[in-house]
Amino acid sequence: MLLLLKFDARTVREPIISLTAIKTGALINILRADVGARRGELIVEVPDQKATEVLEILRKMGVEIQEITKSIAKNENCVHCGACVSICPTEVFYFNGENRVELRAEKCIHCGACIKVCPTSALYFPL
């Protein structure tokens, strides 16, 4: 499960991810981090079987949580060149057996790097 965590001026100072990991034993993978003095945002990957536990603790500690469900998508402009394949930090894009570019949307971390790279403007975030 992919989560967008928002921290406010108070929660941004606490070692919340470490606490959650120790308490639940969940392996929390930080995919993106933008931490400032008074606020912070993380995108983390949490194993599905530990998700309820993790969510409960994070909520209790005052973290704002959004689940990321709609990830990168591709329209019919795609010519299956693969320019995106080497750009994506989490290897969302791959060639299937027929040499068509397919995507593992669940791995997307919403960085948007691929959108500007696609020569035929085939990639977008669905609204």
Binding site: V85, N99, S121
Partner: protein, 490 residues
């Protein structure tokens, strides 16, 4: 030994044996070339990639009163009008003057898709062509000839790209991530037309080809043709093309371009031709070059085969680097199979070349009056050491009449820079040593960098001089904006 006429006779009778290049590799792993000649008549090859040297000659018909184009635009993309009255050449990479991410390629795509485009033109107003301007909208069927004529398509192989610099680069080879973050390459390797006929036995002037769904022709060697980096000049009728085999694209930071689908049938006339059709990706070599260096001779990082590139990963400096193709094998495969069907159905006959293409390597660089590099314009740098006093710095500037002093250590290695402006600040702050006022994060250039790089750095960072250093940061000289202005005459 077969002839093209015999093969065409088989096509007409519906008895021809056609296979794709992929299938032919498989056949040649079972049969000898001699046996394969007896079994197979035609092998279809294909490529689908961004081909910048693409465009179309268009005849618009005459207006009333008539006009001779002085300038002409289609959807605000300017076409070349230095031809007869209402002829123009529209190039794929010309950007629109008003629309973002739109260019000549997109106009070509819009026309093939049946859309109307806005025509705007200015005339000279002559006795025979009095009209001075016109605005109208046209679609493909309103036009007379619309001939795609492409000076350079279907590169046999191409140099792969990477980026050693610490900045992300937007290039015609796609986006190159900093610090060897990725590699991109173009071409379809072992299924690409010219790799399957490396001696240009059957692909030559007059060869009938599949061009974006239409029947097209090879009309000569392409520009920059230099085997084994061979290229083709081709033509085809835009009115017969199918939108699925032609796709406008845009490489950010570079220009519009266009993906084209090209398929070429190779008649299996003899053993030599059959043998060449067995070529594999592992035998097709190219180099990975470094776009981090903005010179014509970009440094070669390493030699690789298309098999390595297609594997999706190559090793650079001991690290695994991911690879992106820029050509589409999926589309190339479709083209080979479509062309195979067309031949089997008797819709596509082969043609023998009337002239062979050049088989020797030759590609000259541009003859320039002078290649201007930093080394040619740099001046001797007056340097200072950081523990010296401000007065010494001020005196040096006055005596040598310079405004910039690179700060160096005993070995001459760059540590910082002080300017006359910094001296003024020092007076106000009552600083005493150079080290207190120098800028430590210095923007520099290398002696072999082109002058254009120095100019763009001066502009980008809004500074007036750049120390010239070597790889060990030893100061070799300095280039100032004054010196460059004088040189460039502005």
């Amino acid at each position: 030994m077969k002839t093209i006429e015999e093969i065409n006779e088989k096509i007409r009778r519906g008895e021809v044996c056609v296979v794709t290049a992929v299938e032919m590799k498989e056949i040649l792993s079972q049969l000898t070339p001699e046996e394969a000649v007896k079994e197979v008549d035609v092998v279809t090859t294909g490529t689908f990639g961004a081909m910048c040297s693409t465009g179309a000659f268009i005849n618009f018909g005459h207006s009333d009163p008539p006009i001779k184009f002085r300038k002409v635009w289609l959807n605000d993309v300017e076409a070349y009008a230095g031809l007869a009255a209402v002829d123009a050449f529209l190039g794929a990479t010309k950007p629109s003057e008003t629309r973002e991410l739109y260019g000549g390629a997109h106009v070509i795509e819009d026309l093939v898709s049946g859309k109307e485009v806005e025509l705007r033109a200015l005339g000279y107003g002559t006795d025979c062509y009095p009209r001075r301007e016109i605005e109208t909208s046209v679609s493909l069927e309103d036009l007379n000839q619309v001939e795609m004529v492409n000076p350079r398509n279907a590169y046999q192989r191409y140099r792969a790209a990477t980026n050693s610099s610490d900045k992300l680069l937007r290039t015609y080879m796609g986006t190159l991530l900093p610090n060897f973050g990725n590699v991109t390459f173009a071409g379809t390797g072992e299924i690409s037309p010219l790799n399957n006929d490396p001696n240009f036995r059957t692909i030559g002037i007059g060869t009938r080809i599949f061009l974006c769904g239409a029947k097209g022709y090879v009309i000569g060697e392409g520009t920059q043709h230099s085997p084994p980096f061979g290229t083709l000049m081709v033509k085809g009728d835009l009115k017969e093309m199918k939108p699925e085999f032609l796709k406008a694209c845009y490489f950010p930071g570079y220009a519009p371009s266009i993906y084209l689908g090209i398929g070429i049938p190779i008649p299996v006339l003899d053993e030599e031709i059959a043998k060449a059709l067995g070529i594999r990706d592992s035998e097709i070599k190219t180099t990975i070059i470094d776009f981090g260096v903005a010179r014509r001779q970009r440094p070669v990082i390493k030699e690789v085969s298309y098999a390595e590139l297609k594997s999706g990963k190559v090793e650079i400096n001991g690290e695994e680097v991911r690879v992106s193709p820029l050509s589409s094998y999926y589309m190339a495969d479709r083209i080979m199979r479509d062309l195979k069907k067309m031949i089997e159905k008797g819709e596509f006959l082969l043609s023998a070349p009337v002239e062979r293409l050049k088989q020797t390597e030759s590609f000259k660089p541009m003859k320039q009056k002078e290649i201007r590099i930093v080394k040619d314009v740099m001046a001797r740098a007056i340097t200072i050491e950081e523990d010296l006093g401000i007065e010494t710095a001020a005196r040096l500037m006055i005596e040598k009449s310079v405004n910039h002093l690179p700060v160096v250590d005993r070995e001459g290695t760059l540590r910082g820079i002080v300017t006359s402006w910094d001296i003024a600040k020092a007076v106000m702050r009552k600083a005493s040593k150079v080290s207190e006022i120098m800028t430590r994060d210095v923007i520099t250039v290398y002696p072999d960098d082109p002058i254009a790089i120095a100019v763009s750095r001066l502009e980008k960072f809004d500074i007036s001089a750049l120390p010239v250093i070597d790889a060990k940061k030893k100061v070799l000289g300095i280039v100032t904006s004054e010196a460059l202005s004088k040189l460039l005459g502005r």
